[in-house]
Symmetry: C2
Subunit: 211 residues, 2 copies
């Protein structure tokens, strides 16, 4: 029996507990506003121990950041959906992105705060991003061309559709806390509000493509 069971997890090792706390804190406040001291306090150990396991703060952060980043990209692109008809593919990807965001609402904030502030981080992940993005849109690009040719959608760039999807989904979860604070969303209507917004986003994206 450990002396401190703490908030995080059950009877899991201290290293994992540190990771879990760090993840939560980094996601909530970004790199610079989270201190090793705070992570240690939350995990229930001294900050020396946090350094013992991860040596530097940068190290600890990278571990979490990169894991989240890959999880994020992989979730969006699923090869199976490439056999779907165009509208269904757009709908499926939007829906998946929406659900991922619903479960990781602070993710964009974490990305943003790090990327905007930390140009090195940005550079170091650039290649990964370019590759993964290219993969993500290659099939889409071809489909759009076909649809446009067939006159089923108006001429549109892959970039525009992708930006639309990303913008609508991500911003929604970013502003959600404010909508709650301002009383537009309450405990009673939250679930329905979110579900409706999801449908509306998909309708917006697909609907705006009609010729």
């Amino acid at each position: 029996m450990k002396d401190k069971e703490g908030k995080e997890g059950g009877d899991v090792g201290m290293e994992e507990r540190i990771l879990a706390c760090a993840e939560r804190l980094f996601l909530g406040k970004g790199y610079n506003l989270t201190s090793m001291t705070e992570i240690a306090r939350e995990a229930g150990c001294t900050q020396a121990l946090v350094h013992y396991y991860f040596r530097t703060k940068e190290n600890l952060f990278s571990k979490i950041f990169e894991e989240k980043f890959h999880q994020f990209i992989n979730c969006i692109v699923k090869r199976e959906d490439e056999d779907l008809p165009f509208a269904d593919l757009v709908s499926a990807r939007t829906s998946r992105l929406f659900d991922l965001m619903a479960e990781n609402r602070r993710l964009p904030f974490m990305f943003l705060s790090e990327f905007v502030i930390n140009p090195e981080q940005r550079l170091s992940l650039k290649d990964t991003m370019v590759t993964l993005c290219a993969e993500a849109v290659s099939r889409l690009e071809a489909m759009i061309a076909t649809e446009v040719e067939g006159g089923r959608i108006r001429p549109t760039g892959t970039m525009d559709i992708t930006l639309n999807m990303f913008s609508l989904v991500v911003t929604f979860f970013v502003v959600l806390p404010f909508l709650e604070e301002m009383g537009f969303v309450t405990d009673d209507n939250r679930e329905e509000f979110i579900a409706q917004r999801k449908q509306e986003i998909i309708r917006t994206i697909i609907g705006s493509l009609r010729p």
Copy 2:
């Protein structure tokens, strides 16, 4: 003649120079990552002087934040546009929001980083926001109802249209630096890219409303 002309402004007083530097730094990196020392260094004085003029960091930040915030809100809502036909009003507001963002690209980052981190800031501006937002959408709401009744647009909520507008415009400028870094946007095509995206956003919003 002052001994230090510095980067910011011409022969303007030190107080204004401090304000200008603080604005640039706060906008770029948010409250917590900007130090009084750094502001002083940029403005070309000691940090004691920065405290002399603004007493606390919080004070200095609030001054800038609130000014920017009001500028932001007032820019979006212009009463004259309320006489325009529906599509034109949506288009005009989107366009204005787009232009404002184009000139203050770090604004959303500043808002976000402060709001997400600083619940007090959020609370203190809540009332202002609610009032201004209500004003901004009241006329829109009536127009939407009329349009829907007349069968000219499909049934849609004011909230959805507003969110669409906000999401599409703001996210574009947030991700623009990444698109540049990834090579999708270059010095050569930037202007055109931005102009096209603006049109596409308006098309998306209006187009998605067709019945």
